[in-house]
Symmetry: C2
Subunit: 645 residues, 2 copies
């Protein structure tokens, strides 16, 4: 069949070499941010400088640092210190370790982050969810009550593993892992965690002494209500007053965003007022427990305490990896969000390395798991920080606190800490987002609920895994069933669109146009073959008129960005089946990668270059021409095709 | 901005209801073959009849069965019996169970399949790979030498679990699982299995008596060469003669496809000649062992032997599921291939139920794992079978054999069986396919080699899992990094194509057109956002001329068949960032599902309906118009945009 109609030719150029294709693929997978694209054409020395600046961001901003920037950072640094002290003490309580370690954890890691971190707004600190997860996981192996020393050492060890894991991921450029924790998963996980942490605080609010190590809602509620005899009304009253005060400061912030500092220093106010109250009212005699025993002095070294005993290795490694992943995800997500607001970029892989170093060095110096918590970073941002210097300021303030003020905080009532944690957690239950998910995407809602309910009612890691598993299953299912649709011509245009979506679009007699979804893979090739055959069956079965017999099948591959061997074989097979039915297979607009594979597999030669078209319109015109020229023989061939079907 | 240029409108109709969308999705996922689409408009009685026929295919073909068809089936049935007897005995040896069970397994299951099976060409029988896998897995828990009775019972139990597993998958319409065993995995797995089975046959060829239970290449070769003192030259000579004869029959078949029966009865000839030779030459006295002890009589019941002891449950369940999955995959793939040749369809889910019933009933009647092996099915097809009746004929022939002829086969020399197995296995090492994979798709080759080398050097199930794992990882990586590309206008047309693929296509000044890959998901949304930003950076960074400042970003979503919440949020964020840079975001041709989600998430309202276009050409024209009308203010705005960058 010669075709006199002129049309644009498909590019049949030889495929790229394997090395070139592999390099391009690897670059897209692991270096999507293309870190060196700016320094491509520069001199070696300048290139080296850029590379060092790339790996140690400190050298990038420090040379240009000046007093004007410092003023902003100083203010921000002091503000976040006001948050760091109460949060440090509270979250350490949540992790079941002595509160002083919470303060230690806000001293060394900020300095490390200031050197290696690429975000300008991130504030370093401990996080509630991971603190609880650590205590849940490690607590199952070593009791924080019966053997607090062992427990503490295991916490350090697990922090060490977190650091190693994060650093390794960063160097392997596996930031891609973080991408698999979807927004829905995080919303659900955060919500679930917030619920159980809030409920756990009932212990502190009511002053209960005996408690459970389980974290699920049922166990926690049982523990609270079983020990009603231990409830203290004094504690409850103080707790509720503090909580109301904190919630009020949040309300103020919501109403007047410029008054963000009210809620930022709220916890500090609670702690100070609590301390004064406890000191003057001798609160411990009235059933209001205080933190007690906060030694002066900087972080003691803890490298000698790392415990690599075989017996505990599985639990510390697991705790390290799971908490590391969650902490990293939170930290990277937060850093990214604020960078985007300022039109800057953060590099996930670099951030991971920074977090990793932070935790490795932290584990050597009596710190436990730190990352970039949401609340602190938001305060840092709003307080006007300009560079990571604000973390240095916080570190220095923390040092002063540890050297001189720590003992003062030993009067902090536990109930104040509970109120601080509860108030922080209430803000994390993002029910609006959940309702939004329910409305827009039911499957995303299910993924979210799996995390939310799993965390609330089973355990934190099971809930998380359940949700991630569902999200992966969905991704795989998607790959297994790519959407295909039938296209029709939109009147008075050369456009072809989904007939289901655009009811005005009309099919062309004798020609079936299908748009295939992407990718065409082993997991969906059988499906695609059967789906295409079904379309043909439907077309030919529904109408008895002979003009509707399909003679040409146009497959629009514009959207197919990838194909594998099994996919190509499906096309080969499809062509054979169609051939036996007297239907000609025509490929429209294959993309670069697909074309390369088709050429390599010799499918292009087998089907003939004249069966490739650059646009549907070209292909349809050409098919119509052949339909017209075959008009005399059409009667027979269509009869033949029908009897075969 | 009002736009006077007429263009086709995007369909903004209200999204389908949740139930309608869910139904459509579930149908595509689990009923891609749409089994009832033919009987939609029929009467209830006729519908019931169709449904019964659907679930029990026997009722579909039996009413139309006639003598003419029977003649074909009779011939095919007798031919496959000639293959079934030697294969049955051989593979039972491979599974380390008495050879009579191999014959039993070709008697009952064919009848079951004839009732429930939907393929017309599939011939039922045992398979080498699964036989070996069973002996490897079960043998690790119960020695076939020290406790043959327990071992045999565990084999039955595992067959029972295989049946239950397959039936369950079929009823749950999870045929989709089979889709995840890619062609590359199967090629590698079959090749690796063939290698280790061949090597194992050296035991039989050399007449070695002490052997290993491991299946990896190293252990097997060590076992063969460690026992060189047991080698019998007589055995080796006979074995090599048989092997050469069998390979010759295969050669004949390849040269003259019409002489396929030569290779089909080859194994039977070897068995008969071997029996005669062993009987008259008293081979067992010359170091050539014979099968020995084949009792007359039909299958004894074995339901009472099913062993659900807790101690063995994990291993039988695991063996059952893994072998069931492999057997099912082979059976379904083979059935599909031949059905396609004849332009018929088989239903994977129905086939699974048929296999499941076959194995459940088989496990009650002293049969072990059966499926539709490749070799037998091919012979059945070429012998001209017309319906599943050929299986019934084989079953009847097998019955006669069991009742009268079984003892004759007790003289079969083991070396003859080894030659039969070796010859069959040599045909399964598809090195041509492997080379093809290496040329076309390196990752597919790696997946194939993972199975091939894993099976050869580690163990069968580890090799298989390794390969499946890699294939899944690839699918996930694909989802995480969908290809995006920059489009340019092809001169003298309204087409926009990848500038990398079509070097003639030119970008439009001030407008950046990007085609996004599918799907847009949580796992790739960060990537997409950063990739889009990089494109903009590249565009604006490379040129200093002011005309090249981007004012419009067109995202072509034609190929995007799915989006989730995180993906939509990425668009929202992208729009915000772009807005701050003075770039307008325009969406081109979103598909039905994507449009629904965008509408539900209120993104359509946020961005404004005037930012949606049906084709790139429309959008570009409209953008150009706005560029022209803004010409006077362009200078400023572009300056502004540049200083922000």
């Amino acid at each position: 069949m010669t075709n006199p109609i002129q049309h644009q030719a498909v590019n049949f150029a030889a495929p790229r070499g394997f090395a070139a294709a592999l390099k391009a693929d690897c670059k897209e997978t692991f270096f999507p941010d293309d870190p060196f694209h700016k320094s491509k054409h520069e001199k070696p020395l300048s290139k080296l400088k850029k590379t060092i600046q790339y790996f140690i961001p400190l050298f990038e901003w420090l040379p240009n640092y000046n007093l004007r920037l410092f003023r902003y950072d100083l203010l921000a640094g002091i503000t976040i210190t006001a948050l760091a002290i109460p949060q440090g003490i509270s979250y350490a309580k949540l992790a079941n370790i002595p509160p002083i370690y919470g303060l230690y954890s806000s001293f060394i890691p900020p300095f490390v982050y200031a050197i290696f971190g690429s975000s300008k707004h991130l504030a370093v600190g401990t996080v509630a969810a991971c603190s609880l997860l650590l205590s849940e996981t490690i607590g199952a192996k070593a009791s924080p009550k019966d053997n607090p020393t062992l427990y503490l050492h295991l916490i350090f060890t697990s922090t060490f593993f977190t650091g190693v894991f994060q650093t390794a991921l960063g160097f392997l450029r596996l930031g891609i892992l973080v991408d698999f924790l979807s927004h829905s998963t995080i919303t659900g996980f955060m919500g679930g965690t917030a619920i159980i942490i809030c409920l756990q605080q009932l212990k502190g609010i009511f002053g209960v002494k005996h408690f459970t190590t389980h974290t699920d809602v049922v166990s926690v509620l049982q523990a609270v209500f079983r020990h009603r005899d231990e409830w203290r009304w004094q504690s409850a009253v103080v707790g509720i007053i503090f909580l109301v005060f904190l919630q009020f400061t949040r309300y103020v912030r919501q109403k007047r965003p410029t008054l963000f500092w009210v809620s930022a220093i709220g916890p500090m106010v609670v702690v100070v007022v609590g301390c004064l109250f406890a000191f003057f009212a001798h609160a411990e005699k009235h059933g209001i427990d205080i933190v007690g025993d906060l030694k002066k002095g900087l972080n003691p070294p803890s490298i000698q305490y790392l415990n690599f005993d075989r017996q505990y290795l599985p639990v510390t490694v697991r705790a390290g990896i799971v908490t590391g992943l969650i902490a990293m995800t939170e930290g990277i997500a937060i850093g990214r969000s604020f960078a985007i607001m300022k039109n800057e970029q953060t590099d996930g892989n670099k951030e991971m390395i920074a977090f990793g170093f932070m935790n490795i060095i932290g584990s050597f110096t009596s710190c436990y798991l730190t990352t970039g918590p949401f609340s602190k970073t938001a305060v840092n941002f709003k307080a006007g920080c300009r560079t990571a210097m604000s973390n240095v300021i916080m570190g220095l303030c923390m040092m002063l606190t540890l050297l001189f003020l720590a003992p003062l905080f030993s009067y902090t009532p536990l109930v104040a800490l509970s109120a601080i944690i509860m108030s922080a957690m209430l803000g994390l239950i993002n029910y609006k987002e959940m309702i939004h998910l329910l409305k827009v995407d039911k499957f995303d809602f299910v993924i979210c609920m799996a995390a939310f309910l799993g965390v609330s009612f089973i355990s934190m890691d099971i809930g998380l895994m359940l949700s991630v598993g569902l999200a992966l299953l969905r991704a795989l299912l998607y790959v297994a069933r790519p959407a295909a649709c039938k296209l029709g011509k939109i009147p008075n245009s050369s456009l072809y669109r989904d007939t289901q979506q655009y009811h005005g679009s009309t099919p062309i007699p004798g020609i079936l146009v299908l748009q295939l979804g992407s990718p065409i893979y082993f997991a969906n090739s059988t499906y695609i073959r059967e789906r295409v055959m079904r379309y043909i069956q439907e077309e030919q079965g529904d109408s008895d008129s002979k003009t509707d017999v399909i003679e040409h099948l146009l497959l629009d591959l514009s959207g197919v960005s990838s194909i594998d061997m099994t996919g190509i074989e499906t096309f080969v097979e499809l062509r054979r089946i169609l051939g036996s039915k007297g239907i000609k297979l025509i490929i429209v607009n294959p993309r670069l990668e697909v074309m390369e594979k088709l050429t390599l597999a010799k499918f292009t030669d087998a089907i003939g270059k004249e069966s490739f078209y650059l646009s549907i319109e070209d292909a349809v015109q050409s098919c119509r021409f052949s339909l017209l020229s075959n008009k005399t023989t059409m009667e027979e061939s269509s009869n033949g095709a029908q009897t075969i079907v």
